[in-house]
């Protein structure tokens, strides 16, 4: 007997009763082309599942949890068109001011000049496709370290997600402070200032470089930094 496409799909999705299942299985055993069609169905399902799985594995944004538990705080999405316009507005305001165009461009380029000029054995910052990217120990620290208060050669102060869903991290070394955001599997340096924190000092009280970067971070993520659990989850997904 012939098994049509709908019957085979229903079999693959576990939608048949025992009698139909047995008929399909008998046909599958006798017909390699049908078996190949079944394999194609299953491969497509796996591909789709893998494609959408990361969405369900990401931390749920606070605003959605608020919408369920404390609607007054979450505000309301009246319609998608309005929400889209609002989001576009927000994105415009929170676009990372590129170091080259920002007010701190001069200081940043001086810091960079020093950095790039003294790259012996691999410095912390390089460039790729016209974008500054973290390299070496800085790259490794951004990828592997969680935010910590205690001094380290590269200290991560906090992590956040910006309006575009990118993970960004504020880092500090003895000589530098900066903001790096995950893009295309690299840490793109969005801001960089010379003169990081004092060794052993408390970044919260440190003015200057870190203060400016913190202010930039707040503009990027008004809802605040990731908590420890969110940060660990982001790291487990390699910041994607």
């Amino acid at each position: 007997m012939t098994i049509d496409r709908e019957m085979l799909a229903a079999y693959a999705e576990g939608q048949l009763d025992a009698a139909d299942r047995a008929r399909v299985e008998a046909a599958l055993a006798a017909d390699p082309a049908l078996a190949a069609e079944l394999a194609g169905h299953r491969a497509l399902r796996e591909r789709l599942r893998a494609h959408y799985a990361p969405v369900a594995e990401m931390p749920v944004p606070d605003r959605l949890i608020d919408a369920a538990r404390s609607p007054a705080r979450a505000g309301e999405v009246i319609d998608l068109d309005g929400a889209r316009a609002k989001r576009a507005e927000k994105t415009r305001f929170s676009l990372p001011s590129r170091w080259i165009a920002g007010g701190g461009a001069l200081a940043a380029s001086l810091a960079l000049g020093l950095l790039l000029g003294s790259r012996i054995g691999g410095g912390p910052v390089g460039s790729a496709d016209g974008q500054l990217v973290a390299e070496g120990a800085l790259d490794r620290a951004l990828t592997a370290q969680l935010s910590a208060a205690e001094p380290q050669p590269v200290r991560i102060l906090l992590s956040l997600r910006d309006a575009d869903g990118r993970y960004c991290r504020i880092f500090e070394t003895e000589a530098l402070a900066g903001l790096a955001c995950r893009e295309e599997g690299r840490w793109a340096i969005e801001r960089l200032q010379s003169g990081g924190g004092q060794p052993g000092g408390d970044y919260r009280q440190a003015g200057g470089a870190v203060g400016e970067i913190m202010a930039a971070a707040q503009a990027l993520a008004p809802e605040g930094a990731l908590d420890q659990r969110e940060e660990a989850a982001a790291r487990a997904r390699n910041w994607e």
């Binding site: 799909a9 494609h51 959408y52 969405v55 990401m58 959605l64 999405v77 889209r84």
Partner: protein, 160 residues
């Protein structure tokens, strides 16, 4: 578990379905929030002891259909096809290309086939449950699903 807790527990799955429908994570989250708001307002319509998940999926799907109709009235392209989900499982360029293929192929399906494929293949609903969420007969669901699956298969196997 309270009604609110039930909703919160469903949020990861609801976001996935919303991202699949809207083909855009940020827009999907807006759709998700609207769904939560609608569910809270209509909570008296949910019969305790019945499945909260299919009820919420139905709300979301209907909100999305309203949105498609509104967008058609505005006669404007709703989502940039290229925008994709903007999420990735890994950083490798090949994987990003792969994500682009699936997003583009899904974008080319008619809405009724896309939702059928999402509910059955991604969300794992049986035909009857998926048909109940959409509000169509099981036979209709089955044929939309198979047509959508075949179209996707051809688009993706064709290297597009």
């Amino acid at each position: 578990m309270s009604f609110e807790d039930g909703i919160v527990a469903l949020l990861p799955r609801l976001r996935r379905f919303a991202a699949g429908l809207s083909r855009n994570l940020a827009e999907g989250d807006d759709l998700c929030q609207m769904t939560i708001e609608r569910a809270l307002k209509a909570r008296h319509q949910w019969a305790e002891g019945t499945r909260l998940d299919s009820w919420m999926y139905r709300i979301m799907r209907n909100l999305w259909i309203d949105e498609i109709r509104a967008a058609q009235r505005r006669r404007q392209t709703f989502v940039e096809e290229e925008a994709g989900l903007g999420v990735g499982v890994a950083a490798e360029q090949e994987v990003r290309t792969e994500l682009g293929f699936v997003d583009r192929a899904m974008a080319r399906l008619p809405d009724e086939q896309r939702e059928a494929v999402l509910l059955v293949m991604v969300e794992g609903y049986g035909y009857q449950e998926a048909a109940d969420i959409i509000g169509c007969p099981v036979g209709t669901l089955s044929s939309r699903f198979v047509r959508g699956r075949d179209a996707l298969h051809n688009l993706l196997e064709g290297g597009q």
